[in-house]
């Protein structure tokens, strides 16, 4: 169970290098590419993707403490290391925030009141903007973004400190402290992730209404964290660290949560689509029309992306995760986790990239050079996040050895 300090130094260095290369390529594209708008939105995809996974890890830890869970104790520590990424995610979000100030309306069109809307006037004369102006302005956007990252970094620091300190002094007080942190942290996390999804992603089409949006984002956060947890479990199992710590039932339990959140994601995503489809009100349907049709009524590429999400994000993982054998076989559950992580990225692309439009107001196609910038952004931001995780990894014990429930977790059974 020993964790030599240098055991993750080499992979951490590699992750940092790859991350910096990804960021450098994205930055070059932002300076040189003819379509800079696409690069900015692709970068937003990359940052929100990894932020979603980090928020998910925060939620998993909070839920673990509030439910006084036992089986997940040995996995919780890895999620706590994952939280180390938040301060870097804030740094990586700064370019978008600075861009919002020096070039208002470039990423989020409502920040520029002179922005011409397709077919009718400007943002400044748009009644739908004026009614929302108190909420949607660059000051609230900036303050809220600082509040989001501030709360996540603050909560992470409290959770990590209590958990890490318990390793050395074994004081059960830290467990109660984290239960308290969870009780205040859960509403904070729920509100911040909801508003983050609204400000950063949903406001790209500020005309739109959907009460499901925050819940949709939450579902992706939770799924991302569970899949990330599975990848870490299999990695540490294969490396030998988790030998004798993780058993079949840990995989079964996390697999069941993956199945539950697959159904949850499908439920909220379907509800959002179904209510808008059924009510058939133009203020809401236009958002899906952008993702299905061109102005002349022909089907666009996003329609097929939507089908990929329907089958890839629900049907396939749902059927796969029904199987007990698939859930408890490490290399199979790892494959499912990789699949779901890929589709979460496509889901974020589906929500962000159609904000790029041509002169007819149609969404630019899915298959474009922007996918390359999505990839460089995801690798760039991801490299930094994984580096932050690996750097935090050797600073503590592999599992919370003095957690009151660690014994139950080590002998976890059905």
């Amino acid at each position: 169970m020993s964790t030599p300090a240098n055991s993750t130094a080499a992979p951490a260095g590699k992750a940092l290098t790859i991350g910096l290369i990804g960021l450098a390529v994205t930055a070059l594209a932002a300076l040189l590419a003819p379509e800079k708008h696409g690069v900015a939105l692709s970068y937003l995809v990359g940052v929100s993707y990894w932020t979603a996974i980090a928020i998910g890890m925060l939620l998993m830890i909070l839920i673990h403490h509030i439910t006084d869970a036992s089986w997940s104790v040995v996995i919780r520590r890895q999620w706590e290391h994952g939280l180390a990424a938040f301060k870097w995610l804030f740094v990586l979000f700064l370019p978008l925030l600075i861009l919002a100030w020096i070039k208002p309306g470039f990423v989020w069109p409502w920040m520029d009141k002179t922005h011409v809307l397709h077919g009718h006037g400007t943002v400044g004369t748009d009644i739908l903007y004026l009614k929302k102006e108190g909420f949607l302005n660059i000051y609230t956007f900036t303050i809220m973004t600082l509040v989001f990252f501030g709360s996540w970094v603050w909560l992470s620091a409290r959770l990590r400190k209590a958990s890490f300190t318990q390793d050395s002094d074994g004081d059960v007080q830290w467990t109660y402290k984290n239960r308290f942190n969870a009780a205040i942290g859960l509403p904070i996390a729920a509100l911040t992730l909801t508003f983050a999804a609204i400000y950063w992603i949903k406001s790209l089409e500020y005309h739109w209404f959907s009460t499901m949006y925050g819940v949709w984002f939450f579902a992706n956060c939770a799924r991302g964290a569970l899949c990330g947890g599975v990848l870490i479990m299999v990695w540490l199992l294969n490396r030998g660290d988790y030998k004798g710590i993780i058993n079949t039932n840990h995989f079964h339990s996390i697999g069941m949560l993956m199945l539950a959140f697959t159904v949850f994601w499908a439920y909220v995503t379907f509800s959002q689509y179904f209510l808008i489809w059924n009510a058939n009100v133009p203020e809401e349907t236009f958002w899906y029309n952008l993702r299905e049709l061109n102005h002349d009524g022909t089907t666009n590429q996003w329609w097929y992306v939507g089908l990929v999400i329907l089958f890839g994000h629900f049907v396939i993982p749902f059927c796969a995760l029904l199987s007990y054998r698939f859930k408890v076989t490490p290399h199979i559950i790892r494959r499912i986790a990789c699949w779901v992580l890929t589709i979460i990225l496509i889901d974020l692309c589906y929500n962000i990239l159609p904000a790029l439009k041509d002169e007819h107001g149609d969404s630019l196609p899915f298959l474009s050079i922007n996918l390359l910038w999505v990839l460089t952004s995801v690798i760039g931001v991801g490299g930094i996040c994984i580096w932050a995780y690996l750097k935090s990894f050797p600073t503590t014990k592999l599992i919370p050895i003095r957690d009151p429930r660690v014994g139950e977790s080590l002998t976890h059974h059905e």
Binding site: F270, Y273, F274, W277, N278, N280, L322, Y324, H413
Partner: protein
């Protein structure tokens, strides 16, 4: 013995004994047998060679039936038997059939799971031949038993008695059916 025999019962004192005995009986190839224990023993299913329950498959069948029932119910009523346009929507769409379908998926899965469980485990059962054994109540307290049924194809009074004795079983008795 006049009455037909149900099988053999053997007594074991400790949990490790019952694990090893179960492994011996499993490896001897018996199928119709069981362990009676006063508490749950983790890993005993493996020692007994038990496979996972078939209840999940019954649940899946129930779920699929429910989903198809929901879809065909909405299609049959709205698009075939009594064609009716509601709210300017198509006569049939999986969109509005979906809420009904998933509700029925859940309902039928629940029914299939509960009914499947009772069919598979054979409960409720008011009588079992082991209840005639005068020491059986100790199986609720501090003693473990192995029961091998006479209907098992490998059952042979002499050989099975010898196996149970070899496994460390004490007071091996024949049970009345």
């Amino acid at each position: 013995m006049a009455a037909p025999s149900y099988g053999l019962i053997a007594t074991f004192e400790t949990a490790p004994e019952i694990y090893h005995a179960a492994e011996l009986v499993r490896d001897a190839g018996y199928k119709n047998w069981d362990v009676i224990a006063p508490c749950p023993l983790h890993g005993l299913d493996k020692a007994m060679g038990l496979k996972r329950s078939i209840v999940p498959r019954i649940s899946l069948a129930g779920g699929l039936t429910g989903f198809c029932t929901g879809m065909s119910l909405i299609w049959w009523t709205g698009a075939y038997d009594y064609k009716l346009i509601v709210g300017g929507k198509p006569l049939f769409s999986p969109m509005f059939a979906f809420p009904v379908s998933y509700e029925l998926t859940i309902l039928f899965t629940a029914f299939a799971t509960i009914i499947g469980m009772f069919v598979v485990n054979g409960l409720p059962r008011h009588y079992h031949p082991v209840l005639k054994y005068d020491q059986i109540k100790r199986g609720l307290d501090d003693t473990f038993f192995i029961v091998i049924e006479a209907r098992d194809p490998r059952f042979n009074l002499a050989n099975t008695t010898a196996l149970l004795a070899k496994a460390g079983g004490k007071s091996i008795k024949e049970l009345e059916a």
